[in-house]
């Protein structure tokens, strides 16, 4: 998936393949809202991914043995 090109075509492709791989049945009339929320969520994800972090930054949840 391109980091910058997610027109509705790309989002529709992601919805199509992703829901099939995950086994998620979706009705055609749900697609528009799913596409909208996917676009919003990806925009938030990209905003975070655009922030440079040191390689040794640990993810927040830490498992204690």
């Amino acid at each position: 998936m391109s980091e910058t090109d997610d027109g509705n075509g790309d989002l529709d492709a992601l919805i199509e393949v992703g829901t099939r791989i995950l086994g998620l049945p979706i009705a055609p009339e749900w697609r528009e809202a799913i596409r909208l929320h996917l676009a919003i969520s990806l925009a938030h994800a990209r905003a975070v991914a655009g922030f440079a972090l040191p390689d040794d930054t640990d993810p927040a949840p830490v498992f204690a043995a």
Binding site: L22, S41, A49, A60
Partner: protein, 468 residues
């Protein structure tokens, strides 16, 4: 008790019952009668546990009469968001699907602890489906309604928790807060809410949403009642792996210590952008009362909110994946469509959000070397109309549901303790909340500040007009 018993503080009720000036049975019968009268309008309760409450109240009175030590909440009616286990009830979590689950065998830890303190459970409360909500709307049970104006939202997802306390149907309620779900209803309904430090209060026996962000906490009509219930619920619990082993650190004893010596700042930048004039005015009023003039910029709050958004939608999707496969048509559509979208977010972006969370935590905690508390708005606006789909934020029309938590998300994201204090509206206007944010494990500082504001008449849970 002075005034209308429906709006008495929990502390007043407990004192009256302990001294036998009033019986728990009388208090609970009055609460049940008020629920029966007003719940058809407010839709705060999904189940009223009348039989259990009557039996418990009678047992409380018998214990008091026998001279047994009375707990700090003796005879106080309380209710819990319906994602918290109540023995004998299905734990709905606001959903249709969970109605098919077996009934809870035992009460959640926090219900047990409140009852150990003498409180009396009167029911389970309406909420947004699976807690993925800021509105208090629910397609299965109908919306909870704001006691200050029943055409308006309670806020969510702990909408019934806000409505029940604001409407005088219970003295204390419990809610959950993943991104703001205690603080938003506290703001819209004009009551006090405490989101403790992540890991402080046990979540055992509650239906999860986003484990790495989920908190439970109380809502009440006074700071003192928040502190009373919070103290009663503290302590380790091996049933919740996130609940810390830290001993209880009671907050009630220091509640009246004032704010002298505390360094209090006001959050700037992100936390002032987009807020309606009412929200800014409430924040300024609180800051002025506390003499807080320093402005502090939290590092990268927009990204923090974005990271919380991503973690929420993906962890939520993972939690519900099987239900989305088997029963997608039984979800609230507004919840389902966001969860399906969350399931499609590539995994590296989620790990990046968790790494950012570590960076952000470290950066924000450094601010608490300079300040003891930070003030911020709770919501960008007063309670919207039920059914409203958009709001104006920073001059742009945006979707309402994903954006009500714009000021709460960057704080719960790193588990900071927050007291949401209600500021009554001017000239009969709707109330709105201000967040008092402290460093980790310093709930007592946020509560002291809230008490100071309440004592000064700046923060107050306004009594709503009588509902007919």
């Amino acid at each position: 008790m002075s005034g209308d018993p429906a709006f008495a503080e929990a502390a007043e009720i407990a004192a009256a019952v302990a001294s036998r000036r009033c019986s728990a049975v009388t208090v609970v019968e009055a609460a049940l009668a008020r629920i029966a009268r007003l719940n058809p309008v407010l839709n705060a309760f999904t189940t009223v546990t009348a039989e259990r409450a009557r039996a418990r109240a009678a047992a409380v009175d018998a214990a008091v009469a026998a001279g047994e030590p009375a707990g700090p909440l003796v005879g106080v009616p309380f209710a819990v968001k319906n994602l918290i286990d109540v023995a004998g009830l299905p734990t709905l979590a606001g959903s249709r699907i969970n109605r098919d689950l077996p009934r809870a065998a035992v009460d959640a830890t926090l219900v047990q602890r409140l009852e150990d303190a003498g409180a009396v459970l009167v029911g389970a409360l309406n909420m947004g489906e699976y807690a993925y909500d800021f509105t208090g709307e629910n397609s299965h049970d109908g919306p909870s309604r704001n006691p200050h104006d029943p055409s308006r939202m309670t806020g969510g997802s702990s909408g019934g928790s806000g409505a029940a306390v604001a409407g005088g149907l219970a003295a204390i309620t419990l809610g959950s807060d993943t991104n703001g779900s205690i603080r938003v209803p506290a703001s819209f309904c004009g009551v006090f809410g405490l989101k403790p430090t992540y890991g402080r209060l046990s979540r055992a026996g509650s239906f999860p949403f986003v484990s790495s962000l989920d908190h439970l906490g109380p809502l009440a009509r006074s700071t003192r009642d928040l502190a009373l219930s919070y103290d009663a619920m503290q302590g380790p619990d091996s049933s919740d792996p996130v609940c810390v082993s830290r001993a209880a650190e009671p907050a009630l004893a220091s509640l009246l210590h004032g704010v002298a010596g505390l360094r209090i700042a006001v959050a700037g930048g992100h936390f002032r952008r987009g807020a309606e004039a009412t929200a800014v005015a409430a924040l300024d009023r609180v800051a002025a009362a506390l003499g807080a003039s320093a402005i502090v910029e939290l590092p990268e709050p927009d990204r923090a909110r974005s990271a919380a958004y991503v973690i929420t939608t993906v962890e939520g999707a993972a939690l519900h994946l099987d239900r989305l496969r088997r029963r997608p048509g039984d979800f609230d559509p507004d919840v389902r469509d966001r969860l399906v979208a969350g399931a499609l977010i590539p995994a590296p972006l989620v790990v990046q959000a968790q790494k950012f969370r570590r960076w952000y935590r470290d950066a924000v905690l450094r601010l608490f070397d300079r300040f003891d508390a930070i003030l911020a708005p709770t919501t960008p606006c007063v309670a919207p109309l039920i059914g409203q789909k958009s709001l104006m934020l920073d001059g742009k029309e945006v979707l309402l549901r994903p954006n009500i938590g714009v000021y709460t998300q960057p704080l719960s994201f790193i588990g900071l303790p927050v007291v949401a204090v209600p500021v009554p509206g001017v000239d009969g206007g709707l109330p709105i909340g201000v967040q008092v944010v402290a460093g980790p494990w310093r709930e007592e500082i946020a509560l002291r500040i809230a008490q100071t504001l309440e004592s000064a008449g700046i923060a107050r849970a306004p009594r709503p007009p009588e509902i007919v």
